[in-house]
Symmetry: C2
Subunit: 754 residues, 2 copies
């Protein structure tokens, strides 16, 4: 009865007039991918059992618990900062060694070919390590990690993303891939690392005081704080970090969580700043303040004229176009990779080696193309060094060098770097996008700035144009707005630059949005992750809950027999079961699969029966909640003798859970889901019986079915698809598209990998 055929309301049914087979194949892939993903319930846990637990915890113990929360927040900040400092330190050291080795070889009189060989071998060894970590150990260490964090904050359970193993692979891997000379940024992986540091705080086993953090929404808040700390550590930008968490992920911010996030980010930034000055040899240990270097160098004393804001706007538009093209090319490439290479294994590993070999060879030779004086690396001009230096150093030099770069070399580099970044993002190594796209944009911007400046030296400081170009390019790709403006403001040290940066960012975002989504959202979509965007589209106001819900739902009675529960759990992979009153058939509440399994396993003599004492929540936590025990273990634990006993599900049921009427707008359901972090939303009839249930996948399917349809057509002409809104009471009889299955959500059996 419970088959795995997922609700088949996909665009293929209606929209595939042109190439139905291809589309059907695509939607089958999507259905499969979505089935493998679980969402997370961030809603208020409101069973009697849990309320009793909270009651016991209040008082002095509750205070201690609250204090520990701050302790762990600060700890997460230190950890995120520490990881960033370590990455930075090792990277600096390895790179220096490589350059020194080249210098020694040059001094010893070795020829260019020999030196190239040594350089290439070094790069290949580093890339081999980075690739190995991703292709054979943890595929989720690939890329920047920002899409994954965004999904988790949105309420989707991506397994393995927040493991320590992933952190280790990511941190080691990013050092290797950057040091190898690939166009990768260390910042995205630092953000991912920060989020892992935050998440790990909820997994500390330190007795009952810490266990409450195992609740989903607590864990989510720690992940958000950790991600903010990651940004703060990567860029020395605490405020930008918090805003990044707000803008990119957090659907759930309230002022209290905001403050905690900020504390975490501030600690991380402080940690990094404490080490940054002395590591660069610029200030003594313990000195802070304006002497500490900022990531991309201070932008003091650069005036601009008001009409130059128009030029910045044009930069923004160009950046938006370049970003949209980047996203489109990278999408095609990523699809090709998904089809022919896969998320792990030999093919992916070989690709890493091939790409690294090609790019490193090219970049080693490129500085010698245009009128090179010498092949001694240390004698290279600034424009030649763009090809071999670390991205951050190149950006600093583009922002602040007073001497002009060689114009031909600059433009050549900008184009080459753009192409290389397209090729690299999505490769089987850890790789951030921030620095590569900033660098490409800065090179373009500076080359324009130099041309304008050569016409009239009174305006167009090339460094400013490099900054604006960098902003435009990154914003055009990633479509991040406020947090990007603040991050760049903090990394250039001057609050005054926030305004022109923001104008550029908005121009780039609006231009880019005309063509496609941001690169992170594209990669989320490529994996078919059911992400709920900020707001439902207006047509969702026209759809009703009753039209988008799944109608056949497996429910449990309030007083349930153990063996029935077990067979239900065995047959059905759902994660939430509506509980109904057996006599009146009315809806009572929702109970989680997880809870049922633990309760059955733990029930003793006095827990059974009508009005039996509830199994305490603490016992469940001690038993391993929120991990799932296997059905076999549960069966063994409950014993054959108890199979016919009754369990009163009342105390375990979330009786207050949100419900909607069948005629409620789908837009309302969407807002409730997204804002309150729901996992299941029961739909009730006018007689308070259960009519169906909505999950995020239903909402997304409804959104997709509306895409491309004109609102008016939908409401007026296509009455078979959308029934006219029913102003009479009750649930409309015809659903948007027929649903044939009973599954709510499937167990996560495999990780979502790119």
């Amino acid at each position: 009865m419970l088959t795995s055929d997922f609700r088949s309301r996909t665009p293929s049914n209606k929209d595939s007039h042109s190439c139905p087979d291809l589309l059907r194949k695509h939607s089958e892939q999507k259905i499969k991918a979505r089935q493998s993903l679980e969402s997370v319930d961030y809603d208020l846990h409101e069973s009697q059992q849990y309320v009793d637990y909270v009651t016991n915890l209040s008082g002095p113990l509750g205070k201690v618990k609250g204090g520990f929360r701050w302790f762990y927040t600060v700890l997460a900040g230190f950890a995120a900062g520490g990881v960033a400092v370590a990455i930075q330190f090792v990277l600096k050291h390895v790179t220096e060694q490589r350059f020194e080795h080249q210098q020694r070889m040059y001094d010893d009189g070795h020829g260019l070919l020999l030196r190239f060989g040594a350089w290439l071998i070094g790069s290949m060894v580093l890339a081999a390590i980075a690739g190995f970590l991703v292709c054979y150990i943890e595929p989720l260490a690939a890329g920047s990690g920002i899409p994954e964090i965004k999904c988790i904050l949105n309420g989707i359970d991506l397994p393995n993303v927040l493991l320590l193993r992933t952190l280790a692979c990511k941190a080691f891997g990013i050092v290797c891939s950057v040091a190898a000379g690939l166009p990768c940024g260390k910042e995205g992986p630092m953000i991912h690392s920060g989020a892992i540091c935050g998440a790990q705080m909820t997994r500390v086993h330190a007795g009952p005081i810490v266990q409450p953090y195992k609740i989903n929404h607590e864990a989510r808040d720690f992940v958000a704080a950790g991600a903010a700390a990651g940004v703060a550590a990567a860029f020395g930008s605490p405020i930008g970090g918090v805003l990044f968490a707000v803008e990119e992920g957090a659907t759930h911010m309230n002022p209290r969580i905001l403050v905690r996030t900020f504390v975490c980010a501030a600690v991380a930034a402080l940690t990094v700043r404490f080490f940054a000055g002395p590591m660069e040899g610029m200030v003594k240990w313990g000195m802070l303040g304006t002497e500490v270097p900022v990531e991309f160098g201070r932008f003091d004393n650069r005036p601009y004229q008001i009409w130059e804001l128009f030029i910045f706007g044009i930069f923004g538009i160009l950046g938006g176009l370049a970003g949209a093209l980047f996203n489109s090319l990278n999408t095609k490439l990523s699809k090709w990779r998904m089809r022919w290479i896969g998320p792990r294994g030999h093919m992916r590993y070989l690709e890493v080696l091939f790409v690294t070999g090609t790019i490193v060879t090219f970049n080693f030779m490129a500085p010698l193309f245009f009128g090179a004086v010498s092949s001694e690396m240390s004698s290279y001009s600034s424009s030649q060094k763009l090809f071999i230096n670390l991205g951050g150093e190149c950006i600093r030099s583009l922002f602040h060098d007073t001497e002009n770069f060689d114009q031909r070399m600059l433009l050549f580099f900008a184009i080459v770097h753009y192409a290389q970044t397209v090729w690299t993002y999505g490769l089987g190594v850890p790789s951030g996008l921030f620095v590569p796209s900033l660098l490409g944009g800065a090179a373009f911007g500076r080359s324009i700035g130099q041309v304008v400046n050569s016409l009239d030296a009174n305006f167009a400081s090339p460094g400013v144009y490099a900054l604006i170009g960098a902003t435009a390019m990154l914003s055009g790709m990633a479509r991040i707005t406020i947090s990007l403006a603040v991050i760049l403001m903090e990394t250039t040290g001057e609050a005054e630059w926030g305004l022109p940066i923001f104008l550029t960012v908005m121009a780039a975002k609006w231009t880019g949005d005309l063509f496609n989504k941001g690169i992170y959202d594209i990669h989320i979509d490529l994996r078919h992750v059911p992400l709920l965007e900020g707001r439902a589209e207006k047509p969702m106001l026209m759809l009703q809950a009753g039209e988008i819900m799944a109608t056949t739902v497996k429910s449990a009675p309030v007083i349930a027999v153990v063996k029935d529960l077990l067979s239900m759990l065995e047959d059905c992979k759902h994660n939430g079961f509506p509980v109904v009153d057996a006599t009146t058939n009315t809806f009572v509440g929702l109970v989680e699969r997880n809870t049922l399994l633990h309760v059955i396993a733990l029930s003793k003599e006095d827990n059974f029966g009508r009005g039996g004492r509830a199994v305490p929540y603490e016992d469940m936590v001690r038993h391993g909640h929120p991990q799932f025990p296997s059905i076999t273990d549960v069966k063994a634990a409950v014993g054959v003798n108890n199979l016919n006993k009754e369990i009163d599900l009342g105390p375990y049921t979330n009786q207050g859970c949100y419900t909607v009427q069948g005629h409620a707008a789908a837009m309302r359901c969407y807002a409730l889901f997204r804002t309150m972090g729901l996992r299941h939303l029961p739909v009730l009839a006018a007689d308070h019986t259960l009519r169906g249930i909505i999950t995020r996948k239903d909402l997304l399917n409804a959104m997709e079915s509306l895409e491309g349809h004109h609102l008016r057509d939908l409401a007026r002409n296509d009455s078979s698809e959308i029934s006219a809104r029913n102003v009479i009471l009750g649930i409309p009889g015809s659903n948007l598209l027929k649903k044939s299955n009973t599954s709510l959500e499937e167990d996560a059996s495999s990780a979502a990998t790119p």
Copy 2:
């Protein structure tokens, strides 16, 4: 039947063992004040009538409408910036005139007494104007306006706060009260002005394209954007402005609104910056960038050592203590004022004149107390000038002067200024708190910095300590955290200072919160405004919806007879009426009073009867929606012949509105109210009939009844107050405190005034 006795669930019933009369009196005042306030419904408007309207508006017209939204956003930004520039310009001019006049008198050889007389008369005339505007024209122009804006964003309808008249009174008044020499800041009123500019955009009468902005939540978004623009204009701090809107008001931020808010704030900041440089004579017209002066001067090249962060933390704690004392003293004074002086009229006016006379006299004489060389104002030392210069200039001098201030004078000023600020806030003139409290804190901080610096010149830059002191004091009073840190960061021009500022802010906030609330919240409480704070307290998890709801509710059948509706509307002042099915008695949805009045007035032949055509939403807007027509007008419009006709309320009813079960946790209701911006929340029984309704006042009453009770006591010992959570289905029989009335919310008959 419908009396004005408000639900009497107040602490007086149970908590008033000691002084029952006093408490009863207090709660009667509170009940009266709350009755006079209405809340606003920001929830999704989901009647068939409205959905049809939106459907018609989509397509090209919808696009135009969307474009206009951005146009108005930019316009609001310009307006907020323009108001700020105008205030700044006039203030600068008036102050210069006053100083020049003093100088002329001195040059002409007039004696001190004569010069004092001229100075005092100038101040008294200015104060008389400011006081007149508040005491006789618009009482809401008093104070900073931030509490009022906070209430409106929270969903409370304070009449008159957003009128153009209020803007005019506030803008003229603040120039006068600052120029008079009172310790007032112009920044708070600029924020209020910005919010009014935003709100006015929703009142432009420009045909049907603009009308949709009259929807509540659209208006709220514009107010939030306007307030952010006000901050941006006041401090030249666009990012701080957006964060201020998020932190202080907006319960509803999603990324899309956030971006719009940011655009508005950026435009305002740009406007101000464009004028600021040339007005100060520092840069040429059209020049922007780092040459433009920031509000409190740039904080370049100031290092500090890591252990100084501990000193900053101690500053924060001291600031928290000073702020808490300030709040406590000002609360006492404000209560005294409410009791003896009132919000307007002669008494209030006389107080303004008296306070101004005293403060101006004292401040004129004070510079001469300690070893004054000359009574020529222009020859005063920096420390003497603190008493007579504008607040912003004093802050700049405390932050940046390299020569030490006279230590005695500095401390004397700090104490005097603190006392004067306590005395002034709440006076019948427009007066912001930002600059006065920053100034007091800066003076304290600098005096400590000078002492420490004199011990060891290697550290403790007095300017830095002034900055940290200013931060601590303001944060200790206002308990603003992130936005304050960012504002100060932007006004001092260096992103690097965000971190120590933030640490100070947090220390001050946590210390202050041990004693009382922030000053804005205190003033909101003093007016008994039913503000919903960020999060419900944990004990709210123990209470159930059925225990806090109002049980006797006036409802309407789906098919209603006109005369019955009219008599219901006449008898009952509620603003939302549940609609129930007449046969099954089950709940259908909510209809607004406002809608009912317009529909009755506009119904024609084919609108009446079962299944009659719905009155179009456009017609209602044209008829004056969302203003209330009077019952008399409605009666006249509908005519005697139609009184016995039926109206089908189905199309006008919000059928999708959120509902909860009686056993849902009060905490859940609170979250729903606060996040979704609700006004009414119907509570349903297991048979889907209506059991009661919750408004924000019920939530607040429940919170208050829990205050001071220990959670455990509540749950275990005091079973008469809180029934044990009912795990069986249905609604608990005993309510927390008996409710006797039927009123949901009363009409706003008078403005909430301090």
